[in-house]
Symmetry: C2
DNA sequence: TAGATTGTTAATCGATTAACAATC
DNA sequence: TAGATTGTTAATCGATTAACAATC
């Protein structure tokens, strides 16, 4: 833990996001039978600078070949490993209302090794059911079920009011990362990763630009 | 248009996002009966720097009172106006599959004046229906219906394959902003605002940090 | 007035980009 | 070898933060 951290020069969040984008692009290239790609070509696809692509990759090793570029399959495998996508991550879905069931049905997550392994909700009509093979538990059983399934990642889709207590329970159950869709400011211990996804903010920034041109 | 742009010193995207966060916070404060708030207090709620809060606001005017801070109700009204949240925005929802209907049922959007005014989908089983009072049209009728309703914002929730042609049709229909949930790189004219929301990337950055601590 | 807090300038920090020696 | 492209250093750019005169 502390052992490896002296090696890594702390990675900018934007670099990690771009790695994720590169990784997806490389999969498409591989499917199309492309063997190698230069930082220049990769950059052009996303309106980035080629130096940025090289720098992003160089944080993690020397993956390229001078005069050639990067081998698509090899680089993709490296990125999958770096991003932790070379294995399956069981995920807890907490809250099975409108947004929760929407996220459950959204197939995008499954493609990259994230698998919803348990659903938690306090609605008695839902608890005990089984949705496409995934069991629905009461929130009170969260600690037990999260531990039993070695779940480290939770997707939080509960109303704003309940978000903090549920998060505390998740943390107590050993969750290490939370993807939060509840529009509320959450407190988590330093060793727990919290990522807020606020769909309203996205719309509001759009209306800012529309309102501006109308001013 | 060009008239107003010499006044505004181009606003950083992160500033706009923070305005949106401030605005929501101010609503809560107003509900709680708080009359004034200092940049320091506001900053503490989001782990920001007070100078940053003041700078964000100062892009748009002098809203504070020295020695006092900001009047909650007044500042909130200003931010609503700046963000274009002082009016209603009719929105088109394009794609009514899993994610689309999820977003439709997600009540978060409605709260701030965004109202889904039309749904578009090519599934004949859906076209012609009426969901909670919102009509479902075929994509072929998009231009007509978008214009009839003066819709400027579209939420795009179609599969990756169809995303670009649908976007072209939206642009042709006069759409000025697209919130894209399809995992594909879209091309739009310069005057159309495009915002990608990629839920998978959020999960992948989380697994990066989990994978890292395991290395 | 004394205390508090703004709006703004200048300093700092970090991320992006240009440039180029190394090397396939 | 000649041409291409990497990995990396140095320059640039932009955003965050500290500091403080202005002023309620």
């Amino acid at each position: 833990m502390a052992r490896s951290s002296y090696r890594l020069p702390k990675i900018p969040e934007m670099t990690v996001r771009r790695l994720s984008v590169y990784s997806r692009c490389l999969r498409e290239l591989e499917e199309d039978g492309v063997k190698t790609i230069s930082s220049q070509e990769l950059a052009e696809r996303f309106n980035l600078n080629s130096a940025q692509v090289r720098k992003d990759l160089a944080y993690f090793g020397e993956f390229g070949v001078r005069g050639i570029g990067y081998y698509v399959a090899g680089l993709r495998a490296e990125l999958q490993k770096i991003l932790g996508l070379d294995r399956e991550w069981p995920v807890a879905l907490v809250g099975f209302g409108n947004l929760g069931s929407a996220l459950f049905n959204y197939r995008g997550f499954g493609r990259q090794g994230f698998r919803i392994a348990a659903i938690f909700d306090d609605d008695p009509a839902k608890v005990g059911r089984d949705v496409d093979g995934v069991p629905v538990f009461a929130v009170v059983d969260m600690a037990r079920e999260v531990r039993a399934r070695s779940i480290q990642i939770a997707i939080l889709a509960v109303p704003a009011e309940g978000a903090q207590p549920v998060t505390d329970a998740l943390v107590a159950a050993g969750i290490k990362a939370v993807l939060n869709f509840a529009p509320s400011r959450l407190r988590v211990p330093r060793d727990v990763r919290l990522k807020d996804v606020d769909l309203s903010i996205e719309l509001e920034t759009l209306s800012f630009y529309l309102a501006k041109s109308g001013r």
